[in-house]
């Protein structure tokens, strides 16, 4: 007869629940497979995690899975004057028609952005110790601490108003005289994508592991958290120029 295995404990960590990605949501719970999360807990226990490496790794699938494409759109709907990316500024002319600067204050710089942020934290709480027993010798050959694992994710999304770039142009050409005699020349149209995950230092209430056997018990917890952001930008820089009839 073998050594009795520890009493079964209901674990929270079974099966993946996908769904915390539709923003904005708060307090969603994501559950992972028992074995995978047990492995994570073991690694965390053994290494002590002085840095937020594991937090970073934990946040990666959250961020990459949650970050459904949300584009930033650079457009100038409803602008009364040409907003030119090309040097050619007249239909039917091969060379640019003469134009001159409208002044030092007739410049603008703006961005159209889309941004998604996520804050996730995971808490592992000691549940029980599982023992594997050799059937022939009745000796315990392996012991493994089992943890209940809960991951929380809070996400938020933010984007600029689609007409924001147009409003800037309207500020530069406020009346009919400006509309008749000026263009907007773009000096820069930049597209940028950033994906950042910051893992915060993990902390533990468990004692350091000894030489033999598990040493974690009721009340022992491990905690890791991470912040992530995903951002797309369309940045524009331009100026108003007076056109020569």
């Amino acid at each position: 007869m073998g050594v009795p295995v520890a009493a079964p404990v209901v674990l929270e960590g079974i099966g993946w629940t996908i769904g915390p990605c539709d923003s904005p949501q708060r307090g969603n719970v994501q559950r992972g497979s028992r074995e995978a999360l047990t492995l994570i807990a073991m690694v965390r226990r053994r290494l002590g995690l002085p840095v937020g490496l594991l937090g970073t790794l934990l946040a990666l699938p959250t961020m990459s899975g949650c970050a459904a494409t949300g584009p930033a759109i650079g457009t100038f709907p409803g602008c009364p004057v040409p907003v030119l990316l090309s040097k050619v500024n007249r239909v039917g002319r091969k060379e640019p028609a003469p134009s001159h600067e409208a002044g030092i204050y007739a410049h603008f710089a703006a961005r159209a952005s889309w941004e998604k942020n996520a804050h996730s934290w995971q808490t592992d709480r000691y549940a029980y110790t599982r023992q594997t027993v050799d059937a022939d010798t009745n000796r315990v050959v392996e012991e493994r601490d089992i943890y209940s694992v809960v991951t929380h994710v809070i996400t938020g999304e933010r984007r600029t108003a689609p007409n924001r770039l147009s409003w800037l142009v309207h500020d530069l050409v406020p009346n009919n005289a400006d509309v008749t005699a000026s263009d907007i020349q773009l000096d820069e149209l930049r597209v940028t994508t950033d994906f950042t995950v910051v893992g915060l230092p993990a902390n533990s209430t468990a004692q350091p592991e000894g030489e033999q056997g598990p040493n974690n018990g009721p009340g022992d917890t491990f905690h890791a958290e991470a912040n992530g952001s995903l951002q797309t930008l369309v940045q524009v820089r331009g100026r108003k120029v007076w056109v020569t009839p």
Binding site: G74, L85, R90, V91, W114, L189, R190, V191, T193
Partner: protein, 156 residues
């Protein structure tokens, strides 16, 4: 000498947190230009004719669409852009010439994520690229006399 020190310090600031495992950052960007476009390329609805008069949409006949998708990559860890500038002049000229257009209006730039986000688990490898995907849409128009909108045709 000063620039070299500054460059090394910048690389250190960017790389050290990444290697420590606290920060993962993927960055990609490009600057879109059209210096050699043979026709006006406007992000608004209007252009100017040869006399400098505004050509509003009612004088524009839409003869085609300009649609292009580009990718810009950075390595390592987003520090070095492989495509610091994207020149769309050639594709604009080809698209406009194909339909005998006079200008492009309502140019729209859509910045988006791309496939390299799936490689985020391997961000610590310097060969893993960061990528920005972006689509550019516009209307290819022909400028003429005032044209009733009902007679405008769209060719794709």
């Amino acid at each position: 000498m000063g620039n070299a020190v500054k460059g090394c310090a910048r690389v250190l600031v960017l790389v050290a947190p990444t290697l420590s495992g606290c920060v993962m950052h993927m960055h990609a960007s490009t600057n879109i230009v059209a210096p050699d476009a043979a026709v006006p390329v406007s992000l608004s609805e209007t252009v100017r004719d040869a006399d400098g008069n505004l050509v509003l949409p009612d004088r524009q006949q839409v003869v085609g669409a300009y649609d292009e998708t580009f990718h810009a990559y950075n390595i390592p860890w987003g520090i070095i852009p492989l495509h610091p500038t994207t020149d769309i002049s050639d594709s604009v000229n080809q698209a406009v010439a194909a339909v005998n257009g006079d200008a492009i209006t309502q140019l729209t730039v859509v910045a988006d994520q791309c496939w390299t986000r799936g490689l985020a688990f391997f961000w610590f490898l310097p060969i893993v690229p960061s990528c920005a995907a972006y689509q550019i849409h516009g209307r290819i128009v022909r400028v003429g006399q005032a044209t009733p909108s009902a007679s405008a045709t769209v060719e794709r």
